[in-house]
C-alpha cells in the first residue's frame, strides 16, 4: 500500500462527509457479511452441542437461550443485518446484470430504509413473551 500523508484518522467525523452512497453500501455490506459469517459458525456450534445428546438437552438449550432478553434483542439485530445484506445484495446483483446503474445511490438508500422498516416491524414478533 502506498504511503500517503496522514489525513486524520477515519474516526474524524469530518472525513465521513467525503463518503458517497456507493462507498457506504460497500462498507455496510462488508460489515454485515462479517457478522453473518461469524453467526453462521456460532449457530452450527450451538446446534452441535444442543444435538449432542437427548432431545431434552436440545429443548433446554433453546428455551434457555430464548429466555434471555439480550438474546432476543440480538436476534432483532441479526434480522436487520441479514435483511440489509439481502437487500443490498439484490442491488448488487442488479448492478452486475447492468440494470439500474443510474440510480444505484437511490437504491442503496432504499435498502437502508426498507431494512429499518422491516427490523422495526419485526420487533413485536421477536420480543413477544420476552418480558
Amino acid at each position: 500500500m502506498s504511503e500517503t500523508y496522514n489525513r486524520g484518522t477515519v474516526e474524524d467525523a469530518g472525513r465521513w462527509t467525503e463518503f458517497s452512497a456507493g462507498m457506504w453500501a460497500w462498507i455496510f455490506h462488508k460489515f454485515t457479511g462479517w457478522v453473518l459469517v461469524g453467526y453462521l459458525f456460532t449457530h452450527i456450534a450451538v446446534l452441535s452441542t444442543a444435538t449432542a445428546s437427548d432431545p431434552a438437552v436440545y429443548n433446554q438449550t433453546l428455551s434457555g437461550l430464548e429466555g434471555l432478553l439480550i438474546v432476543r434483542i440480538l436476534e432483532v439485530g441479526l434480522l436487520a443485518v441479514a435483511v440489509f445484506h439481502i437487500l443490498n445484495g439484490v442491488r448488487l446483483l442488479l448492478v452486475d446484470l447492468g440494470i439500474g446503474l443510474e440510480s444505484q445511490d437511490k437504491s442503496f438508500y432504499a435498502s437502508l430504509v426498507l431494512t429499518g422498516a422491516i427490523a422495526v416491524a419485526s420487533v413485536p414478533t421477536f420480543l413477544a413473551g420476552a418480558f
Binding site: S2, S20, G22, M23, W26, G98
Partner: protein, 302 residues
Amino acid sequence: MSTDTDADADVEADADTDTGSDAVPQPEVSVHRTRRLEEKEARRTDRAAAEQAAEESLADEETVELKVFRYDPEVEGKEEPRFDTFEVPFHTGMTVLDALIYARDQYDSSLTFRHSCQQAICGSDALFINGSQRLGCKTQLADLNEPIRVEPLPHQEVVKDLVVDMEHFYDQMEAVEPYFDPDDLPDGELEEQRQSRQNRETVKMSTRCIWCGACMSSCNIAAGDNQYLGPAAINKAYRFAMDEREGEDRKQERMEIIEQEHGVWRCQTQFSCTEVCPKDIPLTEHIQALKREAVKNNLKFW
C-alpha cells in the same frame, strides 16, 4: 481655434487651388472637427475614470480563502505536512487552478502543482478539492464552500505540495497494453479499417480517458490492494477489447489480462470512480460489461 481655422484655411485654399471646386465654408468644417476632438477627449477621460474606479474597487473586492496542502521533504519547516491559507481575489468564472496560479504568482512561488492545458484535456491537475477528486481547471470556485481545501490525490505518495507520484498509475495502464493492435491488417495497402457506428457508440465514452488518475485515487479497493489494475486501466482494456477492428484473438489475449485475480474481479461496484471522472465516463458500467464478457467466455470452456 483661430489657429486651426487659419491652418484649415491654408489647407482648404491649397485644395481649392488643386481641385478648382468651390471651397466648403471654413467655420463649419472646423466646428465638426472641434466637436469630434472634444468628444474624443471626453471619451478618453471617461475611460480613464472607469479604469481608476475598477482598480480602486479591486481593493475591497470579494476574496476567496484557499487552504492548500504544503509538504516538501527538502525544506525545513515543510517536512511535516501543513496547510497554508491564501486569500485570493475572486472574479466570475474563476477556477481552483486560477486561484492556485494566482497564489503561486503573487504570494508564494514555491507552491508546486501540475497543470498544463487549463481546459480539462491534459489531465495534469487532478486534485482532492473539498473532499472529492476533481480537476482544478474544471472546478469553479463559486461552486465550493469556503474555506476551499486543496489537497493532493489520496492513496498516492506525495512528492511535493500537490504533486503525487503517478508511476503506479502508469504501470497499471501499461499493463493492459493500451494501444490499438489488430490481428490482421487489411489486404490493400491503403485500405481503411472501418468501424460500424454502433461499435463506435459502444466504445465512444471509454475513449475519453485523459489519464488524470482521479478514478484510481477514489477507489477504496485500489487503495487497499496494490495489485488491482484500477478503473482507468480496465476502462482502457474495455476500449480495445470491445473494438471490433482488433479481432477475436487479440480480444482473447486482452481478456486474459483483465480476467486475473487482481483484474476486473476486484471491483466491488463502489461507483466512486464513475462519480469523480471528469470526462463522465461510466467506468463501473464498463467494468461490469467486462465481467459479464469474462463469465460468458469461461462458460464456453465447461
